[in-house]
C-alpha cells in the first residue's frame, strides 16, 4: 500500500510556517523552563544579611524577646507586645527624677510653685479643688493616682498630704462642676436680678502662702512655717514628684522633723509646756 499523503496537505508555505511554529513553540517552552528553574534557584539561594541592613541583636535583647507562639499556643499565650501594658495607673512608666538627682531651685521657681498652688485653692490652707473632671467618687478611685502620687507624661497627680480619709469629695470638689451647662438661656428667671449682675464677685483676700521658714543662722535647717494639720506627709509637697520650686534638696532623708521644727502659730501648744503643776496652783 502506498503511503497516502496525510489528510492535511503540506503545501510548501504551510510546511515552512509549521516548522517555524514548532521552533517558536519550543523556544517559548525552553525559555519558560529556564525562567522557572532560575526562579526556583533564586528563591532557594540565601539572601545576604548585609543587603537587608539587619544586625544581629545582642544576646540580651534576643533573650528578652518573646519567642513566637506556636499555633496551638495562640489562644492561651499572653502576647509578648502587651506584656508591658499595665491596668494599674501607678505602675505606668513614670518620669520621676532619681532620688539623688541634682535639685535645682531658684526663688522664681519657688514663687511659681506657690502661685501654682493657688490655682486650685481659695487660700493657703484650703483644700485644693479638683481641676479635672471626675467620674468615680469612691476613695479607691482617687487613691489610684493620689495615694502615692505620680508624674506621667509631664502631668502630676499630687500625693495626698494628709492621712487616709475615705470621703474625699466632702472637701475636694470639682473646680468646674460637672452639672451640664444650660444649653438655652434662662427663660424663667424668678428674681429680678439681671443676668449680668450674677454672680457677684468675692473680695476675700486670704493668706496665699505660708512661710518662708526662718533660719536663725545661715546654713541651719529652716523652720516649718505652716501648720502641720492635714500636712503630715512632707513628701507630698516637698518630695520628688512635687512642684520643682519647693522640692527638698535632700529627699533621701525621711525623718524630716528631726531637723525641721514647726514655727506656726497653730502648732504652738496652747499651754506652756514648761510650767510646773505647782506654778498653776500658786497663781
Amino acid at each position: 500500500m502506498t503511503m497516502d499523503r496525510p489528510p492535511f496537505s503540506h503545501s510548501p508555505a504551510s510546511k515552512l510556517s509549521s516548522r517555524w511554529g514548532t521552533v517558536l513553540g519550543s523556544l517559548a517552552c525552553g525559555l519558560g523552563l529556564a525562567g522557572f528553574l532560575t526562579g526556583i534557584n533564586q528563591q532557594t539561594a540565601p539572601r545576604d544579611r548585609q543587603s537587608l541592613n539587619w544586625t544581629k541583636p545582642s544576646e540580651e535583647t534576643l533573650g528578652a524577646l518573646a519567642p513566637a507562639p506556636t499555633y496551638d499556643q495562640i489562644d492561651s499565650r499572653i502576647y509578648g507586645f502587651n506584656r508591658d501594658w499595665r491596668s494599674d495607673l501607678s505602675r505606668l512608666r513614670q518620669d520621676n527624677p532619681g532620688l539623688l538627682d541634682p535639685v535645682i531651685r531658684t526663688p522664681e521657681m519657688k514663687a511659681q510653685a506657690l502661685q501654682d498652688r493657688l490655682r486650685t485653692r481659695a487660700f493657703d490652707t484650703a483644700p485644693p479643688a479638683v481641676p479635672h473632671p471626675v467620674d468615680q467618687r469612691t476613695a479607691e478611685s482617687c487613691l489610684a493616682c493620689h495615694g502615692n502620687g505620680m508624674t506621667i507624661a509631664g502631668k502630676t497627680a499630687t500625693r495626698m498630704s494628709h492621712p487616709l480619709l475615705t470621703n474625699c469629695t466632702q472637701c475636694h470638689v470639682e473646680q468646674a462642676g460637672s452639672v451640664p451647662q444650660v444649653l438655652a438661656a434662662h427663660t424663667n428667671l424668678s428674681n429680678n436680678a439681671p443676668e449680668a449682675a450674677w454672680p457677684p464677685g468675692n473680695r476675700f483676700d486670704g493668706v496665699k502662702r505660708a512661710g518662708p521658714g526662718t533660719r536663725l543662722l545661715p546654713g541651719l535647717p529652716p523652720t516649718i512655717p505652716h501648720t502641720l494639720h492635714m500636712r503630715d506627709d512632707c513628701m507630698s509637697c516637698h518630695g520628688l514628684i512635687a512642684r520643682p520650686g519647693i522640692r527638698t534638696t535632700h529627699p533621701w532623708l525621711q525623718n524630716c522633723r528631726q531637723c525641721h521644727v514647726a514655727n506656726d502659730d497653730l502648732e504652738r501648744p496652747a499651754v506652756s509646756i514648761f510650767a510646773r503643776k505647782t506654778d498653776a496652783a500658786q497663781r
Partner: protein
C-alpha cells in the same frame, strides 16, 4: 522586660551607701551649691504664672476659735484674722466634734463674709425704689409701725440666729409685746423632730450624742443623704473602717446618693412608705418574740394616736399595740414600700439582734413629712421596743440641719407656742416661771399660741381687712422668699400690697429682700459675738473678731434698739415690773448702759448678759447650760452641764441614762424624768400609715423631691458667693432616672419644664448626675436663687408639728422646644 526604668523606686527604698552612690551624692552637693547661684536661673524654663510671681507673706495672723457658720454638725474652725479681715480658716484640732476635719463649705466659710454685694446701709422702699436711710430712721419706722398695731406684727426668725439673738427676740415679742407670733424657719426643718421627742420622752432633743458614731455596729439612715449633708460626721463613721472596725451602713432612701455609694445595703423605698417600714419592724420584733420585754416593762408604756389622732394620743395596751402593728406584715409592707421581703427581714434581724449596737440617724427625710411627728414617733418606738437604747452607739438620734436650731430655736423656745427652757405659753406654770425671770407683771405673757410659720405667712399674704391678718413682719437671718413651700401662695401674695410691710435683716440681697419694704444690713458670724447649739446639745461660743462692713449691725442690737424706741414711745410692754427697760443692763457701778446706742453696745458683752439671764430658764427641764466664761474656754459643752464637787463643770453625753446623766436617781438605770405620763417612762407609739396628700396621677405622673447638695448651704446666699463652691455646683438642675430620660427622649443639658399644680419651672436635665433617681422620681436642689423650686412644692404639713413636706408632691416634666 522587667520595668522600664532602672531608677530606684522613689522615696521608699532604704539606701545602703555604696561607692557609686557616694560619688553621686558628692557630685550632687557640689552641683546644688553651684545651682543656687544666680545665673543658672536663666537657663531654666519655668512657666510664667499669670499675674506675676509675687505673693505677699501675711504675718501676724491671730487665730481664734469659732463654730462653723453652716450646718448642724457644729464643727469648730480656727479663724485667722489680720488687719480686721479674715484671711484664713482651718479645722480646729482641739474640737471633739470634728477633730480638725472640715467639709468644703467649712473650709471656705471665711469667704462668705466678702461677697461684693454685701448689704451695708439700711434701705427703705419708696415708690418701688430702694433708698438709703439712716439707722435711727429705720428703727423709728419699725417702732412706729409696731406701735400702731402690735397684735398684727410678727417675727420670723431662724435656726441660724445666735442664742442671744433668739432670746432677745423671744423676750421682746412674748415678754414685751405679749405677742406670740414669733416662729422660726426651723419650723420647716426640725419641728417634727421636736414633736416626736416631746410626745415620746416628754422633753425635746436627743438624749444621745456623736459618741454614738464611734461605737455603733450598724448605722441605719432613714431618708437622709448623710455623706453630703453632715459630711464630717459621715467621715467619722466611715473612717472607722480604716482602723479595721466593721461598721455596717444601711441606707434607707428614695434615691441612690453619695451615701448609698458607701453603704452596705441600699434600700430604695417608695416615698412616704417609711411609716409602713417602721411599723413592719415593730411587728417583726413582736412576732419573733425578739422585743426587749424587760426594758419595755421597766421603762415604757404603749401609746396610740387616739381617735381623732392627737399629739398626746391615748394609752394602749401591749396587745392593742401588737394588733395595730400586725397589719404591717412583710408582704403588705413590701407591697407599699417596694422593698423586698428579704430587705425587710434584714431590718428586722438587725433590731432583733441585741448584741449589735444599732444607731438610727435621720434628718429632713423624716421631718419634712406630712406625717413627720408620726414617723419620728415610730423610729423612737422601734428602738425602745427592741431595747436598742442607752448604750453608746445604740439608739435613735435625730440630726439637726441648722447650726443653732437646737441651741436657739428649740432651747430658747422661739416658736409660737414656746418659752425658753422647753416651757409653753399655754401652760400657766411655764408662764409664771418666765414672768418671774423676766421680772414682768403677772399676766404679761399671752397664753394663746401664735401663728406657726406656714400660717404666719398665709396671714401675712392675706388681705389686711381680715381681722387676724398680719401686716408687719420682721424677718431675721433667713430667706423665706426662697424656702417657704408653695411660694406663689405664701410669699408672692404680698407683692404690690401697700398695707403690708416686710422688714428683712440680712447680709446679702436675697429672694426675700426683693419684696422687702425695709432692708437692714446685719453683721454676720465672726463680725459679732455669738453662741450656737449644735445637734448633739453642745453649746458653743465665739467672740467677735472683725467689725462688720459699712453700717451693718448685730441683729440682737436691732431688736433691742426697736424695743427701746417703743419704750420711748411709751409702749407699756417694754417695761419690767421694776419700771425698767426690758433690756436694762448696768455696769459695775450700777449705772444703766444705753446698749440701744450702737456706739455703746460693745461696752459690755451683751451676749454674755443675755445668756446668763437665759441660763436660769435652762434648769427648768434639766437642760442646764454652762456659764458663759466656761464656754469661752472650751469647744462647747453638752448640756446638762453640772458643776461637780471638784468645782469642774461636767457635760452629759447621755441623758436619762444612769452613770452619764447626773439627774438620774441612783438605781434607776434609765429614767425619763420628764415623762409624758409622769412616771419616768417613755412612750412606744403606734401611728398608722396615712397616705400622702398628693401622689402622682395621670396628669402629674412623677414624684418631685427637693433637697440639698454638698456644696451649697440652704439658699446659696452665702455659698453661691464663694467662687470655689459656685464653680463646683453652679446652678440647679433636675435629676431624672436614666430609663425615664430615654423614654422621654431627654439628654444631659436639655431644657425641660417641670410643673406641679402650683407652679412651673424650666430646668436643665442631669441624668444620674449627683445621685441616681428611681424611675418616676425627679429631684431638684433648692440652692439656686434663679430657680425657686419652692414655687412648685406643696404647703401641706404635719398636723402636729406644722412642718411642710418638701419631699413629695406630684409633678410632670416635658421638653421645652428649642
Amino acid at each position: 522586660m522587667t520595668g522600664t526604668s532602672t531608677r530606684p523606686a522613689p522615696q521608699f527604698t532604704s539606701h545602703s551607701p555604696d561607692r557609686r552612690a557616694f560619688l553621686r551624692m558628692t557630685a550632687m552637693t557640689v552641683a546644688t551649691a553651684l545651682a543656687r547661684r544666680p545665673g543658672i536661673a536663666d537657663e531654666l524654663q519655668a512657666p510664667q504664672p499669670p499675674g506675676g510671681s509675687d505673693l505677699p507673706i501675711i504675718e501676724g495672723v491671730t487665730w481664734n476659735k469659732a463654730p462653723c457658720r453652716f450646718c448642724g454638725t457644729g464643727c469648730h474652725v480656727m479663724v485667722g484674722v489680720k488687719d480686721n479681715r479674715v484671711v484664713s480658716v482651718t479645722g480646729d484640732r482641739q474640737a471633739e466634734v470634728n477633730k480638725g476635719l472640715l467639709c468644703v463649705k467649712g473650709y471656705h466659710v471665711g469667704l462668705a463674709l466678702y461677697g461684693e454685694d454685701r448689704l451695708k446701709k439700711p434701705m427703705l422702699r419708696r415708690d418701688g425704689m430702694l433708698v438709703e436711710i439712716s439707722w435711727s430712721e429705720a428703727i423709728d419706722i419699725i417702732a412706729q409701725r409696731i406701735n400702731s398695731n402690735p397684735s398684727r406684727f410678727a417675727m420670723y426668725g431662724s435656726g441660724q440666729w445666735t442664742v442671744p439673738e433668739g432670746y432677745a427676740a423671744n423676750k421682746f415679742m412674748k415678754g414685751g409685746l405679749s405677742n406670740n407670733h414669733i416662729d422660726p424657719n426651723a419650723r420647716l426643718c426640725m419641728a417634727s423632730a421636736v414633736t416626736g421627742y416631746i410626745s415620746t420622752y416628754g422633753v425635746d432633743e436627743p438624749y444621745n450624742c456623736y459618741d454614738d458614731l464611734d461605737h455603733c455596729d450598724t448605722l441605719i439612715l432613714w431618708g437622709n443623704n448623710f455623706a453630703e449633708m453632715h459630711p464630717v460626721l459621715f467621715s467619722r463613721v466611715v473612717d472607722r473602717r480604716l482602723r479595721g472596725q466593721q461598721v455596717e451602713l444601711i441606707d434607707l432612701t428614695t434615691r441612690h446618693t453619695r451615701t448609698s455609694q458607701q453603704a452596705d445595703h441600699v434600700l430604695i423605698f417608695q416615698p412616704h412608705s417609711d411609716l409602713a417600714i417602721a411599723n413592719c419592724i415593730s411587728h417583726q420584733l413582736i412576732e419573733r418574740n425578739a422585743w426587749d420585754r424587760e426594758f419595755v416593762e421597766r421603762f415604757c408604756h404603749f401609746r396610740g394616736p387616739g381617735e381623732p389622732p392627737t399629739l398626746k394620743g391615748e394609752p394602749i395596751t401591749f396587745e392593742q399595740f401588737r394588733d395595730f402593728v400586725a397589719q404591717y406584715t412583710i408582704e403588705k409592707t413590701a407591697q407599699i414600700s417596694g422593698l423586698s421581703a428579704e430587705q425587710l427581714a434584714m431590718l428586722g434581724d438587725r433590731f432583733a439582734d441585741r448584741s449589735r449596737k444599732v444607731l438610727s440617724l435621720w434628718c429632713m427625710g423624716m421631718n419634712q413629712h406630712t406625717q413627720g411627728t408620726a414617723i419620728n414617733n415610730l423610729v423612737h418606738a422601734i428602738h425602745l421596743l427592741s431595747g436598742h437604747f442607752g448604750r453608746p452607739g445604740d439608739g435613735p438620734q435625730s440630726l439637726t440641719g441648722q447650726p443653732s436650731a437646737c441651741g436657739t430655736v428649740r432651747e430658747v423656745g422661739t416658736l409660737a407656742h414656746a418659752l425658753p427652757g422647753d416651757l409653753r405659753v399655754d401652760d400657766e406654770k411655764g408662764r409664771r416661771i418666765a414672768e418671774d425671770i423676766w421680772r414682768l407683771p403677772e399676766g404679761r405673757i399671752n397664753p394663746t399660741p401664735g401663728y406657726h410659720a406656714v400660717l404666719m405667712w398665709e396671714k401675712f399674704c392675706s388681705p389686711s381687712v381680715a381681722a387676724d391678718a398680719i401686716d408687719t413682719l420682721w424677718v431675721q437671718v433667713t430667706n423665706p422668699g426662697q424656702t417657704l413651700p408653695n411660694l406663689h401662695k405664701l410669699f408672692r401674695g404680698i407683692k404690690g400690697n401697700k398695707d403690708k410691710f416686710l422688714i428683712v435683716s440680712d447680709v446679702y440681697p436675697t429672694a426675700t429682700t426683693e419684696l422687702a419694704d425695709l432692708i437692714l444690713p446685719s453683721a454676720m458670724w465672726v463680725e459679732k459675738n455669738g453662741i450656737y447649739g449644735n445637734s448633739e446639745r453642745r453649746t458653743q461660743q465665739w467672740f467677735r473678731m472683725i467689725t462688720p462692713p459699712g453700717e451693718a449691725r448685730d441683729d440682737c442690737w436691732q431688736t433691742i434698739a426697736v424695743a427701746h424706741r417703743l419704750f420711748e414711745l411709751g409702749h407699756p410692754g417694754m417695761k419690767t415690773k421694776d419700771e425698767r427697760f426690758l433690756f436694762y443692763q448696768a455696769n459695775e457701778a450700777g449705772e444703766e448702759i444705753p446698749i440701744w446706742n450702737w456706739e455703746r453696745y460693745y461696752e459690755i458683752n451683751v451676749d454674755e448678759r443675755l445668756y446668763e439671764e437665759y441660763r436660769a430658764f435652762s434648769r427648768a427641764k434639766h437642760k442646764d447650760l454652762a456659764p458663759y466664761q466656761v464656754l469661752v474656754k472650751t469647744r462647747g459643752l453638752r448640756w446638762p452641764v453640772v458643776q461637780g464637787e471638784d468645782g469642774e463643770w461636767h457635760e452629759t453625753n447621755y441623758r436619762f441614762v444612769e452613770g452619764h446623766d447626773p439627774y438620774v436617781a441612783p438605781g434607776k438605770t434609765v429614767q425619763f424624768y420628764h415623762s409624758v405620763t409622769g412616771d419616768d417612762r417613755a412612750l412606744i407609739w403606734f401611728r398608722p400609715y396615712v397616705p400622702p396628700p398628693e401622689t402622682p396621677d395621670e396628669e402629674y405622673p412623677f414624684w418631685l423631691d427637693t433637697g440639698r447638695v454638698l456644696e451649697h448651704w440652704h439658699t446659696g446666699t452665702l455659698t453661691m458667693r464663694i467662687p470655689t463652691l459656685r464653680k463646683a455646683m453652679p446652678h440647679a438642675y433636675v435629676e431624672i432616672n436614666r430609663e425615664d430620660a430615654k423614654r422621654l427622649d431627654l439628654r444631659d443639658g436639655d431644657l425641660v419644664r417641670v410643673e406641679t399644680r402650683r407652679g412651673s419651672m424650666e430646668l436643665t436635665v442631669w441624668i444620674d448626675g449627683r445621685a441616681n433617681c428611681s424611675s418616676g422620681h425627679l429631684f431638684v436642689p433648692f440652692f439656686d436663687q434663679r430657680k425657686l423650686i419652692n414655687e412648685l412644692t406643696l404647703d401641706a404639713h404635719c398636723p402636729f408639728s406644722k412642718q411642710p413636706d418638701y419631699k413629695k408632691c406630684a409633678a410632670r416634666i416635658m421638653k421645652v422646644p428649642s
